[in-house]
């Protein structure tokens, strides 16, 4: 069984966001990492190989050359091979475009199980993986906290609002990872060295016969939230402070 993992390189969640001269987030000073949710997907894929359920893990990423660092990280965790689809000309592409390129790449690589994080922590859109599943015409189990794969089926425990759904789908299928799926490993030094020799291919969309379509949405502006001036602090005894707070919530904020 062959597993393909969709991965995106993102800013760290601790990153301070600043806008550059053109009004876009300045990424030159920011540390970039494997999207944390994709890391759960990579870890799950590696564990399936270790349990002899799967034979091979390929990680694919649409991104610039700098994304190769994130792909090497996945290889150091234990993935077998990596593919970077070059994003030149697609820097501003929306989820529909990214999905069409990745779906084309995944289709020509071949796969039995497609894994991804359910969301990327930078754009928070949670669209690409599901769109890829739709393009490939495969079923999905989304936001999964536990996964079992056997006999050509995947069973996933999906965390939904106020309930857990246990879903079964035949392979090939997409499974997206929630945070509680596993604990991603830290690569060991020998594995980091080994990862340098593992195959990392660089492709263009055209190599998969894809001519990326035009974006259907466009970011026209980035804004930083206005800095808050700090809380109005109520002093006095707990009873006095509580009374003043409730009065402010009613008369100023008008929220109760």
């Amino acid at each position: 069984m062959k597993i393909v993992v969709l991965m995106k390189q993102t800013f760290t969640t601790e990153a301070r966001i600043e806008l550059d001269g053109s009004g876009k987030p300045n990424d030159s000073k920011v540390k970039k990492v494997v999207n944390p949710y994709d890391e759960f997907a990579v870890e799950e894929a590696i564990q399936l190989v270790e349990r002899k359920v799967a034979e091979k893990v390929t990680v694919v990423c649409l991104g610039p050359a700098s994304a190769e660092e994130a792909l090497r990280q996945c290889l150091a965790m234990g993935a077998d091979e990596a593919v970077r689809v070059d994003s030149a000309g697609l820097e501003e592409a929306d989820s529909s475009v990214v999905a069409s390129v990745l779906a084309g790449a995944v289709k020509s690589m071949g796969y039995d199980l497609l894994l991804a994080g359910y969301v990327a922590v930078d754009d928070n859109a949670a669209q690409v993986a599901v769109r890829v599943a739709e393009l490939l015409d495969i079923p999905q189990i989304n936001v999964v906290s536990k996964l079992e794969v056997a006999n050509g089926t995947a069973t996933g425990w999906r965390e939904a609002d106020g309930r857990t759904e246990v879903l079964e789908v035949p392979l090939p299928a997409l499974v997206t990872a929630d945070k509680s799926l596993n604990k991603p490993r830290y690569p060991t030094l020998p594995n980091i060295m080994k990862a340098k020799k593992k195959p990392l291919e660089i492709k263009a969309p055209a190599d998969f016969g894809i001519n990326p379509p035009a974006s259907k949405t466009r970011v026209v502006k980035y804004e930083l939230p206005p800095p808050k001036s700090g809380a109005k602090i109520f002093k006095g005894t707990p009873a006095e402070a509580a009374a003043a707070l409730v009065k402010a919530l009613r008369e100023e904020a008008k929220v109760v």
Binding site: A125, T155, V169, T217, L224, P225, A231, V256
Partner: protein, 327 residues
């Protein structure tokens, strides 16, 4: 191209979800700008009563798809039913709540229709020409304005971002749509659904949230906060640290790896305010911080604060709210 707009009416525990009238108020100006009608769509089985309830949402028409394949929710069956219904109604734009079901189904519908989608919308910038919507990115540390470039599109809307549309005086007409997913194309099997009794008020849709962190000092600390939540009709939230410490079930977790919430009032009790946590609640309209540490980062984003021990502050707070609300 069609000018009509479709609002997906999500059903949960035998009722219409609270985000739905908010979707109606987001959709109405879009419909007016396009000169189109506003439809509400319900899918499921045995949902006639809920369709009658949806007729008073303030929409122009209600469409219902009922089929045994829709009795249990699956993304495959719902995406197919919604796509077919949308084509049948000739709707050009679709609105979903950014709920579990919205996140699971809306991108599939958008892809099936071949249209663009904007997720987790928190506001409308403009409705004329190409509509522009607002949405937070980078864990709430920036906001983007996103334009749809084609007349057909899908958006999913964060709960509590728009006011609820007032109920209509006279009910809208209801029509049953004879569309159904092809059962041979539904590959997903629902083996089991475990419903958690996480409290009466759904965290993501709650208007008020009382939330606890490490400062509550243990599971009994959350029991201490519960009467405050009850007097306010609020949901109970928590920080990640409190979940990891085993004080409360993970379903209460607010933050980057928990629920994203946007209530009108968020009362943070003994929560320091890690970036992780702020990512999930910084769009709350009014934030109150109660903490013994005056340097806690939560005070930086809070509107109001009390520097003090929550175990001393919360009891008089409950009394004050009781006087005010149930006086």
């Amino acid at each position: 191209m069609s000018n009509d707009i479709l609002v997906f009416v999500e059903l949960q525990n035998g009722d219409i979800r609270k985000v739905t009238p908010q979707l109606v108020s987001a959709a109405r100006p879009l419909a007016e700008a396009r000169g189109g009608k506003l439809h509400a769509l319900l899918v499921g089985e045995g949902i006639g009563e809920l369709a009658r309830k949806a007729a008073t949402l303030g929409v122009d028409s209600v469409a219902v798809v009922e089929d045994p394949s829709l009795a249990d929710y699956t993304a495959e069956a719902y995406a197919e039913a919604i796509t077919q219904a949308s084509k049948r109604l000739g709707a050009g734009a679709l609105l979903f709540g950014n709920t579990s079901i919205g996140k699971d189904t809306a991108p599939r519908v958008a892809q099936r229709l071949g249209v663009g989608m904007i997720s987790d919308v928190t506001g409308t910038i403009s409705t004329g020409g190409n509509p522009i919507f607002k949405r937070p990115v980078y864990a709430g540390k920036a906001v983007t304005h996103v334009e749809v470039l084609e007349s057909s599109f899908v958006i999913s809307v964060r709960a509590n971002s728009y006011p609820s549309a007032p109920a209509a005086a006279s009910p809208a007409p209801i029509q049953s749509l004879a569309v159904a997913p092809d059962p041979s194309k539904i590959r997903t099997k629902v083996k089991e659904v475990v419903v958690r009794a996480a409290g009466k008020v759904d965290l993501t849709e709650a208007d008020i949230i009382v939330s606890g962190g490490m400062g509550v000092k243990g599971p009994e600390g959350f029991e201490f906060l519960r009467p405050l939540a009850e007097v306010l009709g609020a949901a109970l939230g928590s920080s990640r640290a409190a979940v990891l410490a085993g004080y409360i079930h993970p379903s209460h977790q607010v933050g980057q790896t928990g629920k994203t919430v946007s209530p009108s009032l968020y009362i943070a009790c003994g929560i320091s305010g890690a970036i992780q946590h702020k990512a999930g609640m910084s769009t709350s309209k009014c934030i109150v911080a109660i903490n013994t540490d005056p340097e806690a980062p939560m005070f930086e984003i809070a509107d109001y604060g009390i520097v003090g021990d929550l175990f001393e502050v919360v009891p008089p707070l409950i009394e004050e709210f009781k006087k005010l609300l149930h006086g």
